[in-house]
């Protein structure tokens, strides 16, 4: 029999197939052959993107020329535009608001052939520092209420360019899904005077059956209510609501666990497409005790169909306990997690 499981924070249920659970071989994974062509994110093609907003250029060189290692530019096809006044108004029954926001691209390496998982710890740390710096910078703009960092890897996960990159969107509203987590975490805190995520982590660390890997400051595990097969959450062990307040020590451990997790995922699932999201507190938040920033890492293995759209709940063929076993036992090549 399958199991229904309820997310203690959002109240959302899902269905987990504990009867005939699907292992890693049950999923088709799209093949990935790195192309070439005139990629706007490649070394020497800097003129094809808007000018750089942030850059890591350890050995100097001129702006928007070669010599960089990480490069942040405005998205050429932004979902929201940086210019303009925020104008929110009604339209009969409806509400609308001008589409003001920021949409930036973090190019993670000048080398077209390397994925995020291939970056050295030093290189990956530079990317994560760019995440932090750009998040902090966008807070200066009073029009914005939320910054979302995310990555789409692979065509089926929505990546339109294959060159390794992440994205940062600043929004004039707090998105529904974040608000849902905030509300749930707030209710839990009101009831127990503790952070729901800290409590969840404590339970995971005690039961240990859903843990993927950990280090001093971070934990990676498959959530009890995984909506998707091989879904992973990464959390700082020390309570912290705001990703942008990450300490230098935490960034090093975050770099380590992110690389280890990506390598395991690639090894167990033959290089799957995935989405990677950093959920953090809204910019002007009073939720510092209740909320806990975290990464959601979702390999793209299943299709969303009518049932999921209609109900908002998901059928997961792989119990997280099984997924975690595969990921924990994996011995990916070049799993070096020391700097």
């Amino acid at each position: 029999m399958s199991e229904l499981r309820r997310d203690p924070i959002t109240g959302r249920w899902n269905i987990v197939d504990t009867d005939e659970p699907a292992g890693p071989d049950a999923f088709e994974v799209e093949s990935r052959t790195p192309g070439g062509g005139k990629c706007p994110f490649c070394l020497g093609h800097e003129g094809l993107t808007p000018p750089e907003i942030y850059v890591v250029r350890p050995n100097g060189g001129s702006p928007n020329g070669p010599g960089w290692q990480v490069r942040v530019v405005a998205n050429k096809f932004p979902a929201l535009r940086i210019e303009g006044e925020l104008n929110r108004r009604g339209l009969g029954l409806f509400d609308l608001c001008t589409g003001v926001g920021a949409h930036e691209v973090i190019v993670e390496t000048p080398d077209h052939q390397r994925q995020m998982a291939d970056l050295s710890l030093v290189e990956l740390e530079q990317v994560l520092r760019a995440f932090k710096t750009r998040s902090l910078d966008l807070r200066g703009d009073k029009r914005f209420k939320y910054t979302l960092l995310f990555k789409n890897f692979g065509l089926s996960a929505g990546a339109s360019l294959e060159h390794a990159h992440s994205q940062l969107i600043a929004l004039p509203i707090v998105p529904k899904r974040v608000q849902e987590q905030l509300n749930g975490a707030w209710k839990y805190f009101e009831f127990r005077e503790r952070c729901a995520y800290c409590d969840m982590m404590a339970q995971e660390l005690q039961e240990r059956e859903r843990i993927v890997c950990e280090n001093e400051r971070f934990l990676a595990y498959c959530p009890y209510v995984s909506n998707f097969p091989f879904e992973i959450q990464i959390l700082p062990k020390e309570h912290g609501a705001d990703f942008a307040q990450i300490t230098p020590e935490e960034i090093r451990d975050f770099t380590r666990i992110l690389k280890a997790t990506l390598l395991r995922l690639r090894h167990v699932l033959s290089d799957p497409s995935y989405n990677f999201i950093i959920h953090t507190t809204p910019i002007e938040a009073r939720h510092h005790d209740e909320y806990h920033w975290h990464v959601e890492l979702i390999p793209k293995l299943t299709r969303i169909a009518g049932f999921e759209w209609g109900t908002g709940f998901y059928i997961n063929p792989t119990p997280p306990e099984l997924a975690a076993t595969f990921l924990r036992d994996a011995k990916p090549p070049c799993d070096s997690t020391s700097f």
Copy 2:
């Protein structure tokens, strides 16, 4: 500039590209070549499915043999199983519940080559009557709180078999997304003492720019807050919370508008994959004044990526006003809507 739009019922925002809107040619549509083989839903293969629960057999014939026109059977690979006690309990911080439910398949025609849109009005009406009868029957089971009728058409919309079929799932809980609509509709009712859907329909009928087609008892339109390009909602004009209470006159008009809408969608978008969902009130509901049953019809044209997963809000490249113009002006062949 793009626009942010807010759903008046759920409070969910989305982003609509009103700047460079994407028309029907902007999307790739998977090619569809009807196969054959040993399809379990084909005439003569009745032995490959579980026994029939409901059947339309106008000229007689024996159960589970040929002669049928619509056939309902239990899903051979159910998401939830009909046997067992409902057992809900805690597990530390978490909640779980045994996966009890019903999962039925409505085979819409014995002919493998015909889609739902190809059915005659008489045939399609038989399918919609099967929806109603099976929904009513499953209410007798006190373990169930919600029945969801839906259809996945095409591989990318999650259909694993191409032979025309819909699905019915009975659930022991009211799903989150429905609860969200109920809560929103309830708040609106509390404030205005009117049904939000009726008010929305009144506004659409006055503005007319998002209407796809209508008849005496039904309206099809592209919602102001369409999360997906060419998304369509179909609603009964007379207030009604419960699909299963549909009258014989309404079924005839529902049949007409559904066929007309499916033909227009196929014509404008070159036979796209789609998901079709009937949202109705929970089985034991006290929401008869506030909620309004409706169909959500979502062609599968875009990919869900990190931004959508992270925020729960969607970027729609096609404003519903543009989508409705294409759908309204379409002249699909054999658009006969008289019985």
